[in-house]
Symmetry: C2
């Protein structure tokens, strides 16, 4: 264990989970390796660290963030709760089940701020290139200090890649798009609904992003929202003002044509066409190559690169589970790096992956997918001492959430759930989500206090 | 010379100039080194290869292009003419002095298509990382085949960096910008004036981009254009509908406040705040670190990295001269790589650079700057057999152009100049620039033919 060095790329929820996992040991007096976490942004939180910037950032690196103003949790917070740091512990009182982005950012930050993990993080530093040296079995990382425009190299025994995969847009070409006169952007560059007020907006895709951006723009005053799907519509009951149409075939000026022969004029286009797993800093032999799915090939237990298990990937799955899954992964990864967990041989690992992939290929719809990822989580939990939580209950909540959305896409965020960590039942947010136009933490928390005072007075 | 390998990064005007320079020798039966040019886009032309995309491209690399629809040459074409491939040779007839982008792209392509240079170019390939090995004095390039998502390495004796420097935005933060409800973009992501029709547009900066985007948006129907300058206004006579104001201090909602205490409401913001020289693929010891200026430090004759002259930079200067300057540089670089040109010792090179830098620091205004770059061009021309051209005449044209712009920013593109390569006087474009809303090559050329036919009939 002595003198080993661990590099973590990314200080989003996954990278922070890795730091936290080591810290949990350290607090118990165990000696941990030397850890350095490289984060290209100037703050932690990954995707949750909102930036108004689009395109490339202050130092010319592609902007990581895909989140936007008015983004509220798209699943119940009870499904992502850290099992070693509850919402109760952080907020000291029950809150609603679907908090806005700044509130979840606060929660993520709350756990990590309890430790001195910040000292392990080098911000404004991009991992530029990685080489693996077979002879000494070390990774050489080239780091780029963005502020100083200066590169340097360091050696590590383990490499944890926690760089996320909802950051590099997938952006197909549609005939005529180069002559569409209005704005064209990918969801990655969408920063809020305001600029689409009174506009007729075309969203391409049927992903979470399409659904959520559509609803946000509807809520914040777009004139109309049209979603164009490739194979299957999202298929929920849309309110007047939102509709789904088949595949976009081409543009003629500002008119979009669809596969069913219909056409319509639009002011702007947002492509919600998904993201690519992209690792520009990794050479071919270390590079995970996968589409977005629940069990990427090449990684044993979803984390250990099978060709070279000292290379660890976190959070590379498509995600129902998020924070608690990253935790479960990070704890397992930690035990491996601590040489507490011994992996089976390569071909046995291969067999294990094949079993999962077989099941993956036979999944039947999203309820089945929830069960799949739940079983994956259970598998991980069995391997480390990450505080157990009731995965079956969480799976049930996910299914309820799926049903809620189908029932009413505009009101599902008004529902409440019960924590499996503390048993606390969420508060109803005082204002219905459709009426709530302010997503600040201040308003979200302060207003609740005010409401409580009002209620107390009334008693 | 035998078995030497040359890598060129970028197939824009500079990279293509380097290919062309070698080709000129080859046509005379001289054996040239093995050349590979790596281009991350799927076509050549660099900045002139227009893309509707913004942010990152199809394969997740930062989009290179900063050009937009309705971009017309911002200087007389007679100031950038290749001296070995005239506009007459390409178009077979006189054309106007300020052609639109597609016409200049056609011209760039015309010269290079005459050769078989395309076979040297690996498109869709990003130069990802470079190492220099002191022992064997070779560069190892890591290349990333974007289409195949596959990296590989190759060794080279010379490295020509022709990756441009008007691609990575400089984007300062202004207080309150994160809450500005309208669209916010850098000029790099501006793709055309149409989406700003009937809008009140704020442009930040006093660069060429600010001037040109402002005028374009005015021409194509923006309600108002306001340019905010930091230190000095552009200061030309603006038409009603365009104005200049001092530095932006902050935003409050959609209201921008300026240093003179005034404030105004805007629909959208475009930051024309310049670009960074950015070489993410180069390690510290090979990386050119400079602001945009007429004589970047670190490079002898503006091209040879003084610490390691086998590392060559093309086109890194701020530019009055463009295509003909890149040519002049590429020819000199070629002669060095052919071992025909021997460079002085490092300290002598340093002294030469210092002399230029001293003069640079004492430049007095843009007329002086034109003379400075003209003298630089003459210096280059004296070193190789690139076909001589009358630099003094070109300098005069640049000065005339500067005057024309001051006189009338809306009509300067209607002026005509005379080629120093062929002596041909440019045609007047049949339609005044302010009336010409179509920038296609077809319209630009076909319409001229039609006009000629009309004229012939009339005779
Ligand atoms: C629009 C959107 C909405 C979402 N909404 C929700 C939601 O409501 N609930 C939910 O649970 N999940 C949501 N998610 C999923 C979200 O991705 C996860 O919650 C979580 O952020 C993933 O964490 P991560 O650490 O794996 O990756 P990220 O959060 O993406 O963090 C990766 C970090 O790595 C850094 N990085 C990348 N490359 C480098 C490099 N070369 N060098 C140094 N640093 C680097 C990045 O800057 C970033 O900080 C949403 C995602 C998107 C895109
Ligand atoms: C908005 C705008 C308007 C302009 N208008 C004019 C004008 O009117 N007249 C004029 O003369 N000049 C104009 N210019 C200047 C223009 O930059 C030059 O004309 C010319 O394009 C510079 O040529 P270059 O080859 O040096 O760089 P670029 O044209 O920028 O080409 C660089 C090439 O390198 C490639 N590349 C970059 N990084 C990598 C990598 N890592 N791996 C592989 N390939 C890479 C890029 O994809 C690109 O193709 C304008 C510039 C801008 C931004």
């Amino acid at each position: 264990m002595k003198n080993k060095r661990v590099a973590i790329i990314g200080a989003g929820p996954s990278g922070l989970a890795q730091l936290r996992a080591f810290e949990a040991l350290e607090k118990n007096g165990v000696q941990v390796p030397e850890i350095v976490c490289f984060e290209k942004q100037e703050n932690w939180g990954g995707m949750w660290n909102y930036s108004w910037r689009t395109g490339v950032g202050r130092y010319g690196e592609p902007v990581h963030g895909s989140m936007y103003k008015y983004l509220w949790s798209n699943g119940p917070k009870e499904c992502l709760e850290f099992s070693d740091y509850s919402f109760d512990e952080h907020f000291k009182k029950p809150i609603s089940s679907y908090p806005p982005r700044p509130v979840l950012f606060d929660y993520i930050e709350g756990r990590i701020k309890k430790s001195n993990a910040k000292k392990y993080i080098r911000f404004n530093t991009t991992a530029r290139w990685v080489d693996y040296n077979n002879a000494n079995q070390k990774f050489t990382l080239v780091l780029d200090n963005l502020k100083e425009n200066r590169t340097y190299s360091e050696e590590f025994d383990y490499l944890v890649v926690a760089s996320g995969h909802f950051s590099t847009p997938n952006m197909p070409y549609f005939k005529g798009i180069e002559d569409f006169p209005g704005g064209v952007m990918h969801a990655h560059d969408f920063r809020g609904a305001d600029q689409f007020k009174n506009q007729n907006l075309l969203l391409i895709g049927s992903s979470y992003s399409a659904e959520d951006i559509g609803v946000q723009c509807y809520k914040h005053g777009a004139k109309s929202v049209t979603l164009s799907y490739r194979s299957n519509p999202i298929g929920v009951e849309w309110p007047d003002g939102i509709k789904e149409v088949p595949l976009l075939t081409h543009f003629e000026g500002d008119i979009a044509h669809f596969a069913d022969g219909t056409s319509e004029k639009f002011d702007a286009v947002v492509m919600c066409t998904g993201y690519q797993h992209k690792f520009p800093f990794l050479p071919d032999e270390l590079r995970l190559k996968t589409k977005n799915n629940l069990y990427p090939d090449q990684v044993y237990k979803g984390i250990f690169f099978n060709e070279l298990p000292q290379l660890i990937y976190l959070g590379m799955q498509d995600q129902y589970y998020t924070f608690n899954m990253f935790d479960a992964q990070a704890w397992v990864a930690r035990d491996f790096m601590m040489e507490e967990l011994v992996l089976p041989e390569k071909d046995q690992r291969r067999k294990d992956m094949d079993d999962w992939l077989k099941r993956l290929n036979n999944l039947d719809g999203c309820y089945d997918a929830v069960d799949f990822q739940s079983d994956y989580i259970k598998d991980l939990l069995s391997l480390s001492d990450y505080p157990d939580f009731n995965v079956d209950k969480v799976a049930e909540m996910f299914k309820e959430w799926l049903g809620d959305k189908e029932e009413n896409i505009l009101t599902y965020r008004d529902k409440t759930f019960t924590s499996v960590v503390t048993g606390t039942k969420a508060e109803e947010h005082h204002t219905e989500w459709m009426e709530e136009l302010d997503d600040s933490k201040e308003r979200y928390l302060a207003f609740q206090d005010e409401v409580e005072i009002e209620l107390e007075k009334a008693e």
